[in-house]
Point group: C2
Chain length 365, copies 2
Amino acid sequence: MAELTDGRIYNFNPGPATLPVEVLREVQSEMLNFNGSGMSILEISHRAKQYDEVHNAAKADILTLMNLGDDYDVLFIQGGASLQFAMVAMNFATAANKGNYILSGNFAERAYDEAKILGVGEIAASSKEGGYRHIPTQDEIKLTSDAAYLHICMNNTIYGTEYHYVPQTGEVPLIADMSSDMLSRPLDFGKFSLIYAGVQKNLGPAGVVMVVAKKSFIENSPATLPTMLRYNTFLKKNSLYNTPPAFCIYTVGKVAKWIKDNGGLAAMQERNKKKASVVYDAIDNSDGFYKGHADKDSRSLMNVTFRLPSEELEKKFVAEALEHKLGGVKGHRSVGGMRASIYNAMPFEGCERLAAFMNDFRKKN
Amino acid sequence: MAELTDGRIYNFNPGPATLPVEVLREVQSEMLNFNGSGMSILEISHRAKQYDEVHNAAKADILTLMNLGDDYDVLFIQGGASLQFAMVAMNFATAANKGNYILSGNFAERAYDEAKILGVGEIAASSKEGGYRHIPTQDEIKLTSDAAYLHICMNNTIYGTEYHYVPQTGEVPLIADMSSDMLSRPLDFGKFSLIYAGVQKNLGPAGVVMVVAKKSFIENSPATLPTMLRYNTFLKKNSLYNTPPAFCIYTVGKVAKWIKDNGGLAAMQERNKKKASVVYDAIDNSDGFYKGHADKDSRSLMNVTFRLPSEELEKKFVAEALEHKLGGVKGHRSVGGMRASIYNAMPFEGCERLAAFMNDFRKKN
């Protein structure tokens, strides 16, 4: 899976992000006629048998990868994680039972902000001070009494930090935004009441959020909410209450199958650790030329963030990287510097080439 | 554009529905490397210049086709028309200024239902009695005093009826769901304050709603609403507040360009009239073998609905049609019988072949 073909480059974008080239080739080959239907997957009715198989196979593969049983279900919802920020608060929190939030980065904050708009959010912990360099520890978490849930953002794309533990919350349901590390490693997913992930980072094209939830947690949604904002609408109707974003789900299904075919989450984790370590090594062995943003114990396996000695050198780095077919390495404006996003689909060879370029660039500058 | 290639069939599905084969071929050819970027359009950052051009060109082409100036804007929102039903009510209606609704079919009802959940909806006219066979006339419309808006569903996919006039509402803003006939004919779009269309019927793959609205109508959204449910979030951020459904927008852009290249809305209307008339003629000249559902003066140019003498014959019709490479002709369960959806991308030859098959089937049965 490593060789660059078709004029392609190694794509370190944070999302939308690189996808397995094998998946893209399949999508391409089926574009005019899906599975003998005489129609493109873009043209098939969401009530047709051909689509039904795609939809349900994707769901089944996701639950298998996560090692979850049928007390969980997979929902496909539109609107991005940003709409989930609101739906979580609308479905589960009230002024009496507030949602509790750990602030660990930009998207964690935005989730809290949506609860605040509705007057139902509280901060349970924060690492904002110091610039979100670490993930709050278990000891830092202070839940309010009668908390409706604890919400965390598992991986912080912009800052390059990631939880390496699952918070203990006792009886309080745990909800996680896993947009940027979903299906990148095995976890005890059964500890979570609801997980959501905008798929455009690690799992597919922008346009669908994968929600994996305990059925009992989502079966009763407030009847005062609009139909499309109730989780139980999607649960009851197998995410087919209205036309789903079929192409995105179809592609996510192919990516899930690709993960299975490549050894599942344990193999992904092993590969991702190996990939991340060559890039972090290039930082750590640079005599301070590259400075990582995240504290070492909070480092993300998905997004490696680092600065160079000057903004001028950072600009030069981006331009020269692209000449070496290394694209999308510019960091987010709020942190500055570089960010290499190395999701599941980034091959080891891409990270190796990036590390070699980093070493070379350092010597020349 | 008429010949069937690649094992494709004529696809009369109501949505997701047939797309121009030229567009599908372009999508296919660019799947691994978009515009020299070295990445698929599925993998490109929504903040990248390459995506920006796609996004803004699609918007510009849509406004040009609709003959609208820069007092209007195009927004791309996820969640389908079903979420628009709720957003319209949440953004514009209150208990004091209720949204007014014309019930002309299933989706018109659903839009009203969402307003009802919020306690802000009133019925201004209805053709439910008699099974939605006609579009309510101007005389039938009774607006409440202080109506926040009048909402109509321009084309009723399930029943095969379509507005052939634009309701006059005086000072009351007019809002229309045009999911199933958007960009199929010229209209005085400037009479509408807000138009929305799930693109999966006439304009692209499922996963995005195109909203075309008067800027002044949507620039102030209630600050009590979640960010993603305010129209002005999309207006202020050029629909890039969060990651947009990039692939859907990219494909919609290609379809808009295809419409322009094929003569614009006037040419589409002419072609669509010609297409519809061969199918309606097959009904009208069948000595009552085929019975149209819609009253003649309310007939849709997009969805032709009809029954056969028995359900047994209807089943046989569906099966034999498919053998003639005519797919997706089964009607919706609430009307029964047949429905031939003949959106912009259905070539004349598809309608001709359907009409020939209908004549032949009638003679044999």
